[in-house]
């Protein structure tokens, strides 16, 4: 089996928590902080730390607004983030396919 796809996996996305965040955002144009926190059962601190990493990498963009006088923070994938996520998925599929074909 060629180990190359495994070595090419994006280390930023590869972390379990960030992979979950990227998966949620890939399926929805935007999600709020609370929606992600509740869906993933993460603590505020944990989610904030992961979001900061994803923002610094340029994979996620943040929008801050007000709804009914309360702050509302929503996140969405950037073009770069969506591309990185697609590549990551393709590499995972390659790994699975390689084993199936016995390479």
């Amino acid at each position: 089996m060629n180990p190359e796809p495994f070595l090419r996996l994006d280390r930023v996305i590869h972390e379990k928590g960030r992979l979950a965040i990227m998966s949620l955002l890939a399926a929805s144009p935007q999600l709020s902080f609370t929606e992600m926190r509740d869906t993933l059962n993460m603590t505020d601190g944990n989610l904030t730390a992961h979001m900061r990493t994803l923002q610094e990498t340029g994979y996620v963009s943040v929008t801050k607004a007000f709804q009914g006088g309360r702050p509302l923070t929503t996140y969405s994938l950037t073009v770069q983030g969506r591309k990185a996520f697609t590549i990551y998925i393709n590499l995972l599929e390659q790994i699975v396919q390689q084993t199936k074909s016995g390479k």
């Binding site: 399926a27 999600l31 699975v96």
Partner: protein, 214 residues
């Protein structure tokens, strides 16, 4: 290498599950169902006691009840969104609304046409259309709307939709009862739009509460 492959396949499965979960509508439905059920039950009782008996008045009355219920549900949803600091018009909410609309619009247009036409029709035809055929049509169409929205919500909602679809079709199959028109019509509306919503709302209230406690 085999372990890497297993891990990759497991990761893909987790990603798929999370992507599906992201698209699912997660607002609490129990308060909406209880509100709709309460309004439906009271509306049926008021309709009967206030003797809303002419087909035209019946159609107009229940259309108004429908609009009132939708407005109430919208306010409840808005309150939930504000409380949870979530956008009201989130992508799952948009999907659910889009799924609900076709059947609801069909019901609304059919009712509006009936409202206009029953006034000109003879009494017997107007009674049959307004008091006997429209309620099962509303019930079946509402079931279709709920069933369609259920593809973006928890699975139980689709079964709830089926209860309305089968109930509406069953009423068509049973045909015109011996009961006086208004009692039958308000009774059917009260049972389906009141009783069923209340029963499902009570079930959801217990299950959603248990989930929160877990």
């Amino acid at each position: 290498m085999g372990m890497e492959s297993n891990w990759a396949a497991e990761n893909l499965r987790v990603i798929r599950t999370l992507m599906e979960r992201s698209a699912v509508y997660r607002r609490e439905l129990a308060p909406l169902m209880l509100l709709a059920g309460t309004v439906g039950t009271f509306a049926a009782a008021i309709g009967w006691f206030a003797r809303i008996e002419s087909p035209r008045a019946f159609v107009g009355y229940w259309l108004a009840v429908g609009v009132l219920t939708i407005a109430g549900c919208f306010l409840l949803l808005r309150r939930q969104a504000l409380k949870d600091a979530d956008p009201l018009w989130s992508p799952p909410t948009r999907r659910v609304t889009q799924a609900l609309l076709p059947a609801l619009v069909a019901g609304l247009v059919g009712s509006a046409v009936a409202l206009l036409k029953v006034g000109a029709a003879d009494e017997k035809s107007a009674n049959v259309v307004g008091m006997v055929f429209l309620p099962p049509a509303w019930i079946a169409l509402y079931g279709c709307a709920i069933h369609a929205a259920g593809f973006f919500m928890q699975r139980g909602i689709r079964l709830f939709g089926w209860a309305f679809i089968l109930g509406g079709c069953g009423l068509f199959a049973v045909g015109v009862p011996d009961l006086p028109g208004p009692l039958y019509a308000h009774g059917v509306m009260g049972f389906f739009f009141g009783g069923l919503h209340l029963a499902y709302g009570a079930y959801l209230f217990c299950t959603e509460k248990r989930k929160k406690e877990a």
